[in-house]
Symmetry: C2
Subunit: 278 residues, 2 copies
């Protein structure tokens, strides 16, 4: 595996290595990331992983400085997976000066996670576009765990005609159902034991929402209530269509997305489901 920190070296590597699939990450890799690496390998000759903790996507009160940085351990894992390139640039390589041009996103970027994290998705989209232009992959893999991020990146790729195929990886889960996330390590043992409750509520919703007489907003409220009574601070629990628009009665392909805080840790999860035509 080649470890590259500088853009000039990356451009040289890319010229010599055609047909690349990229897995953009912020490092602190877990099985969810490695699942994306394996997915990438199924779709391209060469697999590149980027590790960049993107300051633009953290709010001023968020965990940018304490976000876990574990480059050596990450590199070992990727080497074991047979990754061809690890691109791990410094902030100065990617954001040399005050940002001038950014991506302007539609209303979706200010809903769901965007409602409590202003500027988050603009920061994500701007850096992802830069990484796309730097690595120039044929394919890029993103996890469904960050469903809104995936939707916005798909939108950006489509709207700007970016010549990259986006492939989504299924959310990887612990045995008790908790979606794998770098932020799980912030949980106390007690919180970790209760953390699967979020996924359990999403499962319950997908089960009940398939019934013909389901009252969608009532289901959302019930889940919210249950989590609040169990000591969570729910942020949102919403049923949307697969583009994260408000579903119409005709929409059969849906997803329930949820975010809630447990102690100091904000967890997100989602679950795709289908329902019968109305």
């Amino acid at each position: 595996m080649k470890l590259i920190h500088h853009i000039a070296e990356l451009r040289t590597w890319r010229e010599a290595n055609p047909h690349v699939a990229l897995v953009p990450t912020m490092g602190n890799l877990h099985e969810g990331h490695l699942h994306l690496v394996n997915l990438a390998r199924q779709h391209a000759e060469h697999v590149a992983v980027s590790i960049f903790v993107n300051p633009l996507q953290f709010g001023p009160t968020e965990d940018f400085t304490r976000y876990p940085r574990t480059l050596e351990r990450d590199a070992d894992k990727l080497r074991e997976c047979g990754v061809d390139l690890l691109f791990a640039p410094d902030v100065s390589q990617i954001l040399p000066a005050t940002p001038r041009c950014q991506i302007a996103l539609p209303a979706l970027a200010n809903q769901l996670c965007g409602a409590t994290r202003p500027g988050h998705f603009v920061g994500v989209a701007t850096i992802v576009l830069k990484l796309f232009n730097l690595v120039q992959p044929d394919i890029a893999c993103f996890g469904k765990k960050d469903y809104q991020q995936l939707s916005i990146i798909r939108m950006m790729v489509e709207d700007f005609n970016v010549p990259i195929e986006i492939i989504a990886g299924e959310t990887q889960r612990a045995a008790d159902g908790l979606a794998l996330s770098s932020r799980n390590q912030y949980l106390t043992p007690d919180e970790r034991a209760r953390a699967p409750q979020l996924f359990q509520q999403l499962q319950l919703i997908t089960h009940l929402a398939q019934q013909a007489d389901a009252n969608v907003s009532q289901l959302e409220q019930n889940a919210w209530q249950t989590l609040a009574e169990a000591g969570w601070q729910p942020d949102y629990i919403q049923i949307r269509n697969r583009h994260l628009a408000e579903p119409t009665p005709q929409d059969q392909q849906l997803v329930v997305v949820g975010a809630a805080r447990l102690g100091n840790t904000r967890l997100i999860d989602n679950l795709e489901f289908s329902r019968q035509p109305a």
Copy 2:
């Protein structure tokens, strides 16, 4: 020369034709465009020209519908110049639905031409980024006549790490000095005779601004006054550095940019110059 209207066909052409220089245009081609085509040929194996009258860059009161569309004549000219590809998509190919993602630009986009054409440069940058991703050229050529457009595109390419080299073509002029522009044909014979006055004022400024005791803002005001007295409606006459920032006393590489309306036609022009260190 291959004439392509559809994106799918363009992608196929691109795969078979490596090393491409692109000249993006809105058609109605004149010697200024053909100069860019020749410049493109000096830098790449294949030359592609796009013709797309971009609705996003016209304001509601501007000349989008009456902008001259002369595809057959343009294609003949490009064929004579030995262009390899003419990409002339319909609006529906490039803007299939309501725009969602756009480019967000820094303050420069709202100054100079941007001050009286709100949204103009966002429209330009968004479509240019799409054309870049569609044609995927190694090189793209833009004329210095649209100096602010050139600056903003350079900025976007740098900020998003777009893997394209931007090459600037010198402004082409009529024998009397008037910068070539598709909009010159809107001028009445009398206006056409007076039109070189804008360039003459810019030349005068570059001459006088090189003197050690030059009062820059006085020079700008004098030119404005002279044009106004000659029946123009000046929009701006400004000396800037080559990045179009307000010049500091240390800046030696400068440009004077001007825009003024003659009758119903808005003309722009500029002239680069150097001055001695302060």
